[in-house]
Symmetry: C2
Subunit: 384 residues, 2 copies
Amino acid sequence: MSSIGIVSPQSMHFAAPLKLQSGAQLADYTLVYETYGTLNAERSNAVLVCHALNASHHVAGMYVGDPKSVGWWNNMVGPGKPLDTERFFVIGVNNLGSCFGSTGPMHRNPATGNPYGAAFPVVTVEDWVAAQARLADALGIEQFAAVMGGSLGGMQALAWSMMYPARLRHCMVIASTPKLSAQNIAFNDVARQAILSDPDYRGGDFYAHGVVPKNGLRVARMVGHITYLSNDDMAEKFGRKLRNAAATADYKFDFGIDFEIESYLRYQGDKFSEYFDANTYLLITKALDYFDPARAFDGDLKAALANTEAEFFVASFSTDWRFAPERSREIVQALVSNRRRVTYAEIDAPHGHDAFLLEDARYMNMVRAYYQRIWDATPGKEQA
Amino acid sequence: MSSIGIVSPQSMHFAAPLKLQSGAQLADYTLVYETYGTLNAERSNAVLVCHALNASHHVAGMYVGDPKSVGWWNNMVGPGKPLDTERFFVIGVNNLGSCFGSTGPMHRNPATGNPYGAAFPVVTVEDWVAAQARLADALGIEQFAAVMGGSLGGMQALAWSMMYPARLRHCMVIASTPKLSAQNIAFNDVARQAILSDPDYRGGDFYAHGVVPKNGLRVARMVGHITYLSNDDMAEKFGRKLRNAAATADYKFDFGIDFEIESYLRYQGDKFSEYFDANTYLLITKALDYFDPARAFDGDLKAALANTEAEFFVASFSTDWRFAPERSREIVQALVSNRRRVTYAEIDAPHGHDAFLLEDARYMNMVRAYYQRIWDATPGKEQA
């Protein structure tokens, strides 16, 4: 099992306008993507990997001259890895509205000549999937062996199975949910309010002012990060450890840092505010909030999934309180009611929501075994 | 069962300096308090009620001409109520550092002549209790029938039992914890960072600038509020209801308010930022973070509670994820190991942490029954 090595992103421009769920449209747009492995002659071995909140098309491998630039799912995707790039042709694509290359708020709005800023249209999971489908068209991929994602990425996989039932043989939905709860939305709104009320947000046009709403982004990331970790894991890793580990250390009796957990979270927040775009954060939290495929069916998830054709792999993690196992079970139940073939894994893992990104033998083995099954049934695989 | 009627706050000035846990001292200070009922001749029927984060000395009754000014535990304290003011002499006291009357950051710092602002010393639960004990001295109360509190108020009750073991016959600790978890601290730090990074905080001296860090306070309150409610309760009350309840209502595709839960939280945040002091919020979250009586005993809560003499009433609520029942059970276990007499109630209630403030027949009956027991054993009660 080796790493995928040096990769480089590609981009594709789409000149035809994209009509969005909101009614708005993007006149044209660019998607940035990466591919790993080789598309076979039958074009039957393609796997689309959808990214979550703060990730991108850079799923695996690293960029030349930058050994730290390892892809976000490098433990999952590569030669001999659970999603084996010696078998599958894997595509990672950056979503619209992102700040990592695909058309987003920091890009030029053709209508004004200035950056979109807050005028970038609110995009949904379904909009992303529609844009991804055009990329698949352009790459000549009529049907994916699998579409796979964790968290918000899992929502995209689920949306694929409903919007383009014939275009994927397997749908892999990990640590996800059929819709956000009130509590999920509440945390997202805290993050949004932190950003929107930062004076440096400047109504979304901060680019023109040479400022960045770092304080807002920082708080947004801190609160988000708490929801990614499990209570137990946080207790174990940080507990009430003081940052100053000396045995004689005492409380500092000021508003600086006393506890390790404060240091960790502030560091995460600071780092995030250095590279992430505030408008993108707002857009992505809205895409999360709006995702609710059962909504058009009076809340009936079974009805929403009735026209799916894929086989499903659904996985959840015991200590994930952001999208708890119950939420995955809702999906499984709706699929089973539709007599779809479903593999469901509820993995006992300590790392909360973040577990879907982390090394865990049981989890990785489940995914590996599932891809083995996909591979065994892949038409024309010998030609790869 | 009637309400307690019109009440009015009193205040007491303490000219002797108060040495604080931090090593700093307050040269002098004032405590604002209210009393309900009548102290009996034996001075044996006094109950101290300690307040939590955003409450005050105004526990019950209302102020003249302001029928909306109902005390925060008016359902608990009054004639014929669980804590019956026809039997007990109840004291509510505002803590040091608060913004509701007792000496706090907005008051004049005798060292500078200006408001304390961020220079107000960081106070701890133990500091509050020491100040409360002086008030008890001044009121001639040598021993309380009970000291009682919920959440942060419960920590004060617990501290009373350790700091002044002979001064309370009963210690009532509701919806509380022997110490904050990493996750608890993390949420507090998000709130602090939201306030500290608001440009209107001005290093704590916003009073002099005629501004208030409302945005920071608002976000702080929003995130705090999420932790007071249970996930289930939020799902039931708000779910994914849109604020515009029309059947044809659709998402708004902007960063305004789509969901009821957003409207509710923003309203709570706005309201809070109108009346609460930012420096007080910082101070109180630090008092929460620092509370850890077992710390001086190498983490051994049993040892910390070894010198207590009171009988204990401990209660927790099934859906409270801020201070979950496990946290109360830690207290109970340490007390039982010390062979203390403990009544423990784990109440199955849907309302999360906030349950300790709300009407719930089982909860109220438990408290009522416990006070009946206290009353039955109150020396000299016939004279009341």
